[in-house]
């Protein structure tokens, strides 16, 4: 029993990385109507920027995360302002193609800038311990990740439901033209939301640097998982993204424990089942 609970906790920490990426993806889709294929690459850039600040230049860990968020936000600014903006009116296919082009560019750009070899930064000292939970040692860093994920979830909920900004965002998401008609500066709002979504992905990447390999191509693995999460949860729905991430993370962890052969396959099976029973996703529609 304790084993199951412990494994579930491990799965929860996995889920939080997925949540951070899926959250950004969902917000961007909900407001701009754009599915950013390159979102995983933004996660990867966040990891690289954080690694550079923290691992190579020795800057304070928290400051590194902040700098990485700013860096990726700037990159996403260029993406949106000079590229995506011009194809909003085009067919959905072109968005996906354009953002796919960005994946290719980012993958090689990262190789050119940092070299193709993987990078491993040191673990920040205050995180390198473990706490006994369910009779076994659970790393403090994983607890931190869970905390950060939940914090982001609460923060997003507060922003969207309780602030003026949130109301504008929700309005623009549900009816772009009307929002424009009542005076919302749609272009600026879109850029801001896109940058915010990118920052969320970068946050996930930055947080992952002490424990995961930083290498070209990590964005590609992560985007597939994020898509599965959003399909399960419902495209454009933040609550769905959160629940979907937890389902995928925890199931992956249990899969490794109980069905070690089929781990990779399980999340796709779950996705197929959700599609059969509730095609718009658990919270979609």
């Amino acid at each position: 029993m304790e084993t199951l609970a412990f494994q579930g906790l491990v799965g929860l920490s996995l889920a939080m990385y997925l949540w951070l990426i899926a959250a950004g993806l969902t917000i961007v889709f909900g407001v701009l109507g754009i599915l950013n294929f390159a979102h995983g690459s933004l996660y990867m850039l966040g990891a690289y920027f954080a690694f550079t600040c923290y691992g190579l230049w020795g800057i304070n860990f928290w400051l590194s995360i902040l700098l990485s968020l700013i860096g990726v936000a700037l990159v996403s600014l260029v993406m949106e302002r000079f590229f995506l903006r011009f194809i909003y009116h085009l067919d959905v296919a072109y968005q996906l193609l354009l953002t796919f082009g960005f994946i290719l560019i980012f993958d090689d750009a990262v190789k050119i800038t940092w070299g193709g070899v993987f990078m491993i930064p040191p673990m920040p000292d205050f995180f390198s311990g473990a706490i006994p939970i369910f009779g076994r040692s659970f790393p403090v860093y994983n607890l931190f990740i869970i905390g950060a994920g939940i914090g982001v979830a609460i923060g997003l909920w507060l922003i969207l439901e309780r602030t003026w900004w949130g109301r504008i965002i929700r309005a623009s998401a549900s009816d772009r033209e009307m929002a424009g008609a009542i005076g919302v500066n749609i272009p600026i709002l879109f850029t801001a939301v896109f940058m915010f979504g990118a920052a969320l992905a970068a946050f996930g990447g930055a947080l992952s640097t002490p424990v995961r390999v930083v290498a070209p191509g990590i964005g590609a693995t992560v985007i597939i998982q994020a898509f599965v999460v959003t399909v399960i949860g419902g495209l454009g729905n933040l609550k769905g993204a959160f629940v979907g991430a937890i389902i995928v993370g925890v199931l992956t962890a249990y899969g490794i424990l109980l069905f070690p052969i089929f781990e990779l396959f399980i999340i796709f099976v779950v996705m197929a089942i959700v599609l059969l029973l509730k095609p718009e996703g658990l919270f979609g529609g």
Binding site: F29, G101, I105, D108, F268
Partner: protein, 337 residues
Amino acid sequence: MMTRKGVSIFGYGYKKVSNLLLLLLIVVLFFVPQLAGKYPMYMAMHILILSVFALGFNLLLGYTGLLSFGQAGFYACGAYGCGKVLILIPSLLPGIISGVLFAGVTAVILGFLCIRHTRIYFAMLTLCFGMMIYSLAWKWHTMTGGDDGLVGIPRAPLEIPGIFSIDMSSLQNYYYFVLIVCLLAIGLLYRIVKSPFGLILQGIRDSESRVSFSGVSVKNYRLIAFTIGGLYAGLAGALLPPLENTVTPPLAHWTHSAEPVLATLLGGIHTFSGPVVGAFLFYVIKDVIVRFTEYWLICLGVIVLALVMGLPGGVVSIFEQKLIPWVRLRFAGRSLH
């Protein structure tokens, strides 16, 4: 002599000239083994296979308005199906046919799950299902050989028992087989898109509601289109095992699904020949870039950006929108109509 676009080149109509060029191209293709070396012949086979792959993809995108990012899954079904059969029955036709059928059946099943969805959702789902096939190919190693893949697939002879048997162990013979099969497949698809079925698909792409008001089941037509796309991907995949003698999981990975996407984008989404032109361009560009720099992804990415932003119609649109009008202007004086 009235021509399709009112263009006359040296007295011959536009259609006749383009047909002549097409014939010339096919003749050249038949002489590639004699005219070029072994490597270009090998590349030509890959280009033909990618053409078939991309044409199936564009049936979905250009004609039906569905962007599928998971075609590699069906390609892999074709490849694994063919490979497994060839190991048991070393005869080319059963292998290829099995691969195509396997891909088709998979397309029908997965299509049923994907078709009910709108365009972005559809793209995501196809992506995820393609990756599902990838993970299955990787994990089910008793069946697929895992990451080693299927090894030792023979380049089986093309035979109908009792009637004839053509040995395929020479790459040149196999080249002719691939060429003929691809030409037939391309011709067949051309018939399909020019038929009423093709017109309905375009109607669905342009205005789904209008088409469904006229009593046509949009879902069924989409499913049929999806299945055809899957069959063509499966054919492309089935032609691979005798060529390379191995089938491995990366064939199902979504980065492989990106190849027909890129080829179609390069060549042009809105024309029939776009994917074929694009397949050729894709291989040539990649091959050329790789000789100069290892960073070919970024070059390809920049090209993609340039195409989407500046030339959504792809390379073929340069012909349609720029070159033909120029020709028309230039030779307008010569035509008498």
